[in-house]
Amino acid sequence: MKKLLKFISPLAPDDSGACSVLYEMGGITVICDAGGCAGNVCGFDEPRWFTKKSALLSAGLRDMDAILGRDDRLVAKLTRAQEQLEREFTAVVGTPVPAVIATDYKALERMAEKRTGVPCVTVATDGTKLYDKGETEAYLKLFKKFAKEKLETVKGSAAVIGATPLNTGFTTADEIKAAFLKEGFTQVVCIGLDSGLDEVRRISRFEKIFVIAPSGIRAGRWLSEEFGLDVEIHSCPVPESYVAELKKLCGTFKKALVIHQQMTANGVREILGGDTAVGTFFELEKSAAEKNDFHIADEEDFAEKAQGYDLIVGDISLKRALGGYEGRWVDLPHFAVSGRTFTAAKI
């Protein structure tokens, strides 16, 4: 049965993705929920929750707030939070509750800006889609709201879009920055990972924009159109220790499948070589895909499409869905799947 999960837990949802992008931006991010969604984000999908403070709040909606559509109360609570915390902007992230009652996010945005006096970004997620959709929307909204003019280009500088823990498994930017510095850049910034709103505002000064996950593609395109920036889709770095282990697999298989977000999987394919395909439960960007790459719709689809590969490189938690898979499975943690970072896993 479609949409029935018997072997794997639900993947990271769109509201988690939106929060992941906004986490280090320095604003007040309000998850428009009753408490459960915020619990999922803070307690599971946001590994930085325990190491980096962020004003990530729950709207604490109650049934009558939803039934009566009391947006004025929501804005009043947001205003109060802004008075207490004095942040540069506010953001409202959607969940199933506002989706059921058809909350007007544009109106909410206007009301919030008027009452708080600071910009407001709303992300119309509904908890039914996957994290990359929420990230896509959040990146785009942030750049459209805060990147206003073309600044003078800084030679040798690069910005990385898509560097969230959900995409990369990293909670700091060190390893990603190191990978791009090796490519000859002198200044590398990961948007939203060890960097805040200033880098969003001044995005147009970067000589190069690298997109390391499908969730950054739309924002990249917009930056290219708006400011003429040089945007490139690039494979997502994995830790050096993984690269070394993956290299040992070269030539040891007939047909391999890599399962992850597309740009990480592409990077792994570059290392493995041979007859290697990419499969992803998330968005598959055609321009970055090869002929045999495919999207995985659900558990059933996965069991069908994963047939015939003697090597699978993917999050170990997915293996259960393949029952008696007899090939070799090499663990490649994907935070959006199992909630494991690279540091928490061993190859």
Binding site: G39, N40, F44, G60, K77, R80, A81
Partner: protein, 428 residues
């Protein structure tokens, strides 16, 4: 930026419950799910949230019918061995608006049951805020599932939206997990302890005291087979030790004819003694609790002699009512500098008492966004509770938050032992 909001016990008591400041009322401000309190605001989060609690019936499985976001953190329970008992029917954006998913649930139930190499004792169908808003009649859907699968099917409502209502999610799920019980001949020598999803400590005197008057005790958490579970309805009466189980007890009284007696968890030993006296009166017996009382009292005196007036911060992620615990510590001669708790009508009584003994005690709420700006401004030697430990990582902490539940005199003794160990470690 505003400093973390607090009010002293004296100020709060003077204003009365009806004048509790907005910052202490969770419905009047945004909620900060601080790392200290992740299991507090979300009914599905850590510890025994609705999802884990719903699987308290031995041999049962759960089908979570919800958008993906509601089931995401269930993976946390995998390491406890629950992954083979959870199944998910994911809703899409059309489902959550039209409710068309309701027709798919029986089929999903059937597929889940068919995929198992055993017949589950029950299927719990867990639904969330979406169905709360759609007004889903889940009992009807459960009946439909039973027709298709021949497996008893029960609803578990993970409605975060109704957290402050008469029937909050954790009270509702307590009712659900006793829902399979059928009326049967009752035995005069059996009683159930209702309250938690894990058992009381093995050494708790409640077991011995009941045994001493010829009554054996049963607990859901100790039912490792469905046969033992069904014996719960043989009980002569239910002993409710947590108000969240009151609704389940009322339902059992109505359906199974089992009356209930409600008692509380206290850390003030005179209250514990008084409660046992009253319980004895209700049962027509007299409990000989002297040696348990003496042991607890000795542990308090020993602690007081050894450490003098220690200063505490008391949180709410702890196996106690934080205000009652603070009051107990104050009565035992310690000082409680700060409390991180949720003020309600039920515990306001303790706050009034506390205001008399310790008017300067500062009361914070974990849920206020201002707690992002919290900084210690009082003298504290030891913290109690996971949340208090988070705010003061440099101080000795007693989490006192184990799954096995402390109760009665044994709870007091256990607390004093753990406090002593923490204070000794730091050379206080």
């Amino acid at each position: 930026m505003t400093e973390a909001f607090y009010i002293t016990a004296a100020e709060l008591a003077a204003g009365g419950f009806e004048n509790t400041p907005d910052e202490l009322m969770s419905s009047r401000h945004m909620i900060y799910s601080s790392p200290a309190t992740l299991d507090f605001n979300s009914p599905g989060a850590k510890g025994f949230g609705v999802k884990r609690a719903g699987l308290a019936i031995p041999g049962s499985v759960m089908l979570l019918v919800a958008p993906g976001c509601c089931g995401r953190n269930t993976a946390l329970l995998n390491e406890l061995g629950y992954n083979e008992r959870f199944f998910y029917l994911l809703l899409d954006d059309t489902d959550i608006v039209t409710g068309r998913h309701l027709t798919k649930i029986p089929k999903a139930c059937k597929e889940v049951c068919d995929s198992l190499d055993y017949t589950p004792t029950a299927v719990m169908i867990c639904i969330t805020c979406v169905d709360a808003l759609l007004g889903t009649d889940m009992e009807r859907v459960c009946r439909k599932c039973e027709e298709v699968t021949n497996v008893p099917t029960l609803p578990a409502y993970m409605y975060a939206l109704t957290r402050e209502k008469r029937l909050p999610p954790m009270a509702g799920v307590r009712k659900s997990v006793y829902g399979l019980l059928k009326p049967q001949k009752r035995r005069g020598d059996l009683c159930n302890i209702l309250g938690y999803f894990s058992p009381l400590h093995d050494d708790c005197e409640l077991y011995e005291l009941m045994k001493s008057v010829g009554v054996s005790t049963q607990e859901l958490a100790r039912c490792d087979t469905i046969e033992r579970y069904h014996k719960l309805s043989q009980a002569n009466f239910n002993l409710v030790i947590n108000p969240e189980a009151r609704y389940a007890a009322q339902d059992m009284e109505k359906r199974l004819g089992i009356p209930y007696i409600e008692i509380n968890r206290f850390y003030r030993i005179d209250k514990i003694r008084n409660q046992y006296r009253l319980l004895g009166q209700a049962l027509g017996v007299e409990f000989d609790d002297g040696r348990y009382y003496d042991k607890a009292k000795q542990s308090i005196e020993k602690f007081r002699e050894r450490f003098g007036q220690l200063r505490f911060a008391v949180g709410e992620c702890v196996n106690a009512d934080s205000f009652e615990l603070a009051l107990a510590l104050t009565e035992y001669g310690s000082k409680v500098s700060e409390i991180y708790g949720t003020v309600g009508e039920r515990n306001f009584f303790y706050i009034k008492k506390l205001a008399e003994l310790s008017p300067d005690t500062r009361i914070f709420t974990n849920l206020s966004p201002t707690m992002l700006n919290y900084e210690r401004r009082t003298q504290i030697d030891v913290t109690i509770g996971v949340d208090a430990g988070y705010y003061h990582p440099d101080l000795p902490n007693v989490m006192f938050n184990d799954e096995e539940q402390p109760f009665g005199y044994e709870g007091v003794t256990l607390l004093m032992e753990q406090l002593s160990a923490a204070a000794e470690k730091e050379g206080k």
